[in-house]
Amino acid sequence: MSMNNQGRPSGIDGIASAEGQFESFSGHVGLRLAEPLIFELGTTETTGVDAPEVGDFDDCLGGLGRTSKIGCPGLPEPDTVRHYTRLSRRNYGIDMGVFPLGSCTMKHNPRLNEKMARLPGFGDIHPLQPQSTVQGALGLMDELSHWLMTLTGMPAVALSPKAGAHGELCGVMAIRAALEARGDAREIILCPESAHGTNPATAAFCGYKVKSIPAKENGRVDIDALKAALDNTVAAVMITNPNTCGLFENEVREIADEIHKAGAFFYCDGANFNAIVGKARPGDLGVDAMHINLHKTFSTPHGGGGPGSGPVVFSDALKNFVPVPYVVKEGKSFRIVEDKEGQSFGRLVAFHGQMGMYVRALSYMLSHGSDGLKQASEDAVLNANYVLASLKDIMTPSYDGPCMHEALFDDRFLKDTGVTTLDFAKAMIDEGYHPMTMYFPLVVHGAMLVEPTESESKANMDQFIRSMRGLAEAAKAGQVERFSGAPYHAPWKRLDETQAARNPVLRWSAAEE
């Protein structure tokens, strides 16, 4: 029997504290509480609400009442609270620790933002109320627009896109509308090899052929290759800046000039705008359209996969083509334009977009102010460069520094160790961290993209760096088992994704009787 430092047994029957080996009578293991699906817990006769009692009345359902069973089980309120609380404890979140997921920008989510979004004056108003009864909400949209336009140096903004990819769609549609308005049919959009997958998907969706432009050895767009590809068939060039390798495109103004010389538009994927807020304005860099992920740059929560919000800022050349709705100020009051007028390319969503996210983002902006936003960008870049400087001797940075808000490593340092990028990432879970982004961007081998954000203290960074160094040393020392089966200490071991795809089980079903 193994003993811990109190001289007490640390496991049963000589097994050290590997939880998997211990079988309880309850199915729980200490604080790791087993929790079945609600379909295995509740019944359709159970409910956790006091439904209003309506009594008998003559219905007006026209004989179309739902007589078949629905099948959704209910749980009493205490059991509901317990069920979802137990589930929550199987998740990792920013609130728990360092979340260095490159490109995704997992920064702190201030709770003031949550409180503000829930004010009844914002959270409990209907999008089709008379406009006289929602002047404060329209004023908020106008103010958010003002902040976004000022920070980007752009003259127009469309707030309504529901997420970053939706913003890309908005931007490219405006570009196509502008080209059609001048009778200029073009068929190609150029994207760098390192682009987010959404860029080519969006371009194709708008009817464009996608051509890839290569990168130079320093990780930036090859401007000569770009020039060679630019002609009067190119509608737009979609470039992420800072780019997906975490580098600023230092020739961005020359790139913009070349794009404009060819009569094309410069779409900037603003996923990484958080590195340069207050430091540089896309409008000064020649950008024609850029989406901003409010859930990255302006701290609205990721929520386990949305909701996002992806406003798009536009240059003068595109501002007449913005989708409805948009807010205009008339004297002291505000009006929302809901019907397509003039050259607007149409409507992307029912209603007005992600108001709840607008409130959170503005709350974040007001809190930081112009000074704090600039400081946040600087701290994000400083933290990333600190990681790069602290790990460059033991891991393999893909490019010479400095980087912007994220540091890119590849897997050369793991060569001949038998450890892959995936293994390394899973071992980070055992260290108590969410892994960095892996295998993206595609332009380096076994990519590891580390974005600490400005939310981490130096002490947190130092502990994270020690952990990463420890792992790199362990890999090089041949401790393959530490990685190959990792994570060992997460609530679940590695999951079989092949089985999930081969034999899809996408819902619970009652067992055959």
């Binding site: 439904a51 007006c60 997958g197 969503v349």
Partner: protein, 449 residues
């Protein structure tokens, strides 16, 4: 600044470690002519100041809970139990990312699996995805999916479909191969509106999109529409904007729908001035590989323990790039969580109870309005929403009642300007409407008409 942990001394030490003197040395790739521009915006504010400032803006709005409230037409005021909002704010849910690392995201993945099952059960379909942006974008994605499935291009949008949904579908498909045929709204004759959709189906039709309950509140038996569509090898896409209706009305699956999409806001989510909401998307097993959006599936881990992962991602943009089924990346995770928690509290029994309370309120509203001279109710069969024809422009009436502190509904002219529907008013009554609310409405309406 309260959100930034680094101290001045930390920054100096870190710069020294990096080997530069000033933070701007890290921004050396930014052209110096554009670095550090003047930004004409206010400086930082304390939490108290921000709260005061935004509180004043919020105070300028009339919130639904503070007045007699009959506004619907795609978004609905319902009571959401306090438990829902408490649970979704647990940091492990709120501050998690998309569950790409399933070993430390089983909380999110399990609730998505539960959510998918609930949506499938509610709609009467086999499978549902992990949610879309909202009902309107889900409808657009359904039209695109129908083209992939049928390899035909013509989509028919029935007159019952919400004007914004039509506009979103038309905008989204304007640069694709799809051909959209949009039929005129006909609030006066719901049968004719359905027949027009049936008559429009031909051999080129990929799908017919019908909203039920319709934007004017009518509920219809769609079985004949499904038969007509299937006879021409087209798909029936059923849209709903009021998910609560599924607790009282025969499901789209039972009526023969191939794809069901709709807005899930009513369960678990507040009005929020139009967003964030959540799009629901369900279909049959045989079409699942053409479905857009994220999907969660069951599997096992290395110890054989049941777990869940995102699956069938070969449909998605991060793998397929320009060949993806959709450019969609994010969904509405936290809104889906709110939905699934509220559904768990309700269960079938609670859902049926709340749904019937909605219907009862609408029946009471209809009966009360029938007594107001000059008001003509246009619906025979409805759930919680009706349309009335007024002797004067509905927009004027709505504005006058708003001045009296009553939010009476949505003038059809706001959704269909210039369509000759100026005297039509769309009114919703949910379980939140009281007898007193209806009395106040009827009294005020009597005065302005």
């Amino acid at each position: 600044m309260r959100y930034l942990p680094l101290t001045g001394a930390d920054r100096q030490a870190m710069l020294a470690k990096i080997g530069v003197r000033h933070v701007d040395d890290l921004f050396k790739d930014v052209p110096s002519a554009v670095l550090n521009p003047e930004i004409d915006l206010p400086r930082h504010k304390s939490e108290m100041e921000v709260e005061r400032y935004l509180g004043r803006l919020a105070g300028k709005n009339t919130n639904a809970g503070s007045v007699p409230f009959f506004v619907g037409a795609g978004a609905y005021k319902h009571h959401v139990p306090a438990t829902v909002d408490h649970l979704i704010q647990r940091g492990e849910f709120l501050t998690a990312y998309t569950p790409y690392q399933p070993e430390i995201a089983q909380g999110t993945l399990q609730y998505i699996f539960e959510f998918q099952t609930q949506v499938a059960q509610l709609t009467g379909m086999d499978v549902a995805n992990a949610s879309m942006y909202d009902g309107s974008t889900a409808a657009a994605e359904a039209v695109l999916m129908a083209r992939r499935v049928t390899r035909k291009k013509k989509a028919i949008l029935a007159g019952s479909l919400h004007a914004h949904y039509k506009a979103v579908i038309e905008t989204t498909t304007q640069y694709t191969e799809d051909v959209i045929v949009s039929l005129a709204p006909n609030p006066m004759d719901a049968e004719a509106q359905l027949q027009a959709a049936i008559d429009a189906i031909d051999d080129e039709t990929s799908c017919v999109v019908f909203q039920n309950p319709g934007v004017f509140g009518h509920i219809m038996d769609l079985t004949p529409l499904a038969e007509a569509a299937h006879a021409k090898k087209a798909l029936l896409i059923v849209v709903f904007t009021e998910v609560m209706s599924l607790g009282a009305v025969k499901s789209p699956g039972e009526m023969g729908a191939d794809i069901v999409v709709g807005e899930g806001q009513s369960i678990g989510n507040g009005l929020n001035f139009g967003g964030p909401y959540l799009g629901l998307f369900a279909t049959n097993d045989k079409l699942v590989r053409q479905m857009p959006g994220r999907l969660c599936g069951q599997t096992v881990d290395a110890d054989g323990k049941r777990g869940f992962v995102l699956t069938l991602s070969t449909r998605e943009q991060h793998i397929r790039r320009e060949k993806a089924t959709s450019n969609i990346c994010t969904n509405s995770g936290l809104c889906a969580l709110a939905f699934t928690i509220h559904m768990t509290l309700l269960g079938e029994k609670g859902l049926r109870g709340v749904a019937m309370a909605n219907h009862k309120a609408a029946v009471d509203l209809e009966n009360a309005l029938a007594s107001v001279p000059g008001v003509e109710v246009l619906n025979k069969a409805f759930f919680n929403e009706i349309s009335v024809k007024l002797p004067v422009a509905a927009a004027t009436v709505v504005d006058k009642l708003a001045d009296e502190g009553i939010l009476a509904g949505v003038p059809a002219s706001r959704l269909y300007p210039g369509a000759g529907l100026d005297n039509i008013l769309i009114m919703a009554a949910t379980e939140t409407v009281t007898e007193d609310d209806i009395k106040a409405l009827v009294a005020a309406l009597g005065e302005v008409l």
